[in-house]
Subunit: 194 residues, 2 copies
Amino acid sequence: MPRAGLDAGTITRAAAEVVDEVGYAGLTMGLVADRLGVRAPSLYKHVTGQADLGRRIAVLAVTEIGDALRDALQGRSGRQALEAAASTTRRYARDFPGRFAATLYVTAADPQDPLHLAWLRVVESHSAILRGYGIDEEDTRHALLLLRAFLDGFSLVEPAGDMHTEDEIDLGLRWSITFIDRGLRELSDVPSSP
Amino acid sequence: MPRAGLDAGTITRAAAEVVDEVGYAGLTMGLVADRLGVRAPSLYKHVTGQADLGRRIAVLAVTEIGDALRDALQGRSGRQALEAAASTTRRYARDFPGRFAATLYVTAADPQDPLHLAWLRVVESHSAILRGYGIDEEDTRHALLLLRAFLDGFSLVEPAGDMHTEDEIDLGLRWSITFIDRGLRELSDVPSSP
DNA sequence: ACCTCCTGGCTAAGAATGTTACCTTCGGGC
DNA sequence: GCCCGAAGGTAACATTCTTAGCCAGGAGGT
């Protein structure tokens, strides 16, 4: 029987598909192995265990979000950039619920953690949004936290769908973007609409 | 041997202590049983299983947050109310990390779900904050979403502590509160400082 | 006081899963 | 063609959730 040609990457991608289907809590080594046409113990040749696999899913997801943000922010600034970032983050959370959950549950340990580096790229995109508003460096640092809390928090509220309808969230999101955009413009040294 | 006097409530409280110590993912029936001086299968006389127990922890946590918010908002309005809500939510997330995680992971199924009712009380507190700003009903509805995303999102970013120091988060939170407070005051029909 | 019955806790056992130990075989380098 | 490391397989073990079935304890009626 030929080798399956596994490596950590293919296993992680298969695992990411699994969590998107069965939820992050439903991840099992057996399901991942099945998807790859392989037996569960074979996975341990490439990942150290389920915890490791979970971390790798989180790194993959944060990296993908970072990529998506970078693409979406090309050539946009101000309110358009805010909108693009919000809808990108939200779409990712909806299309890949398991992966997105991983980004919330798994936290980086040390600054060398690949997860940390992946997050830095996301933060860089958030910074790019703020750069367009021309606010000073200290405000930018604080606003970054607000932005992350807002974007992640909003995508988080989504699955708790019992409280709000899809449309209501859509409207709320657009309203919130207007709210934040206005606040940021007022902070700006050179208001774009004085 | 005397009866232990278990019921769903005591089991849930014990389980809540367990998750705060070992993390939500580390919850096992055995740990809960140990804490109560009882064998694991006995728990099944009062809760249907681990999933049920997880839901009950979430309900407990959301209820506690609701109570804490209600207390903290007594006699405060405007910016003070915002600050009180943020620090209350954040303190809860830090003091009871396992329980707080449960509020993020578990989602209500139907509108009769006790979890849904518990969330309604939290939303009621958020509404109370906004009420003080005198903004119209539609804006209030949208702002509620913003508030929930912000408060939960901020408490969520906290454990990902590799990226920001404690003080930095503190400052960012105060800055964000100022930001939101100003935005809300500008929405107000009767600006408090015209 | 005693009997009865249900409740609540226990032990034992089964099923699912994560993980390790060890074996086998593929496939490239000499 | 041989050798050896790496990749995958099988078997087995440990942990944990959960169910089945037993037994005691105590509340309530007589």
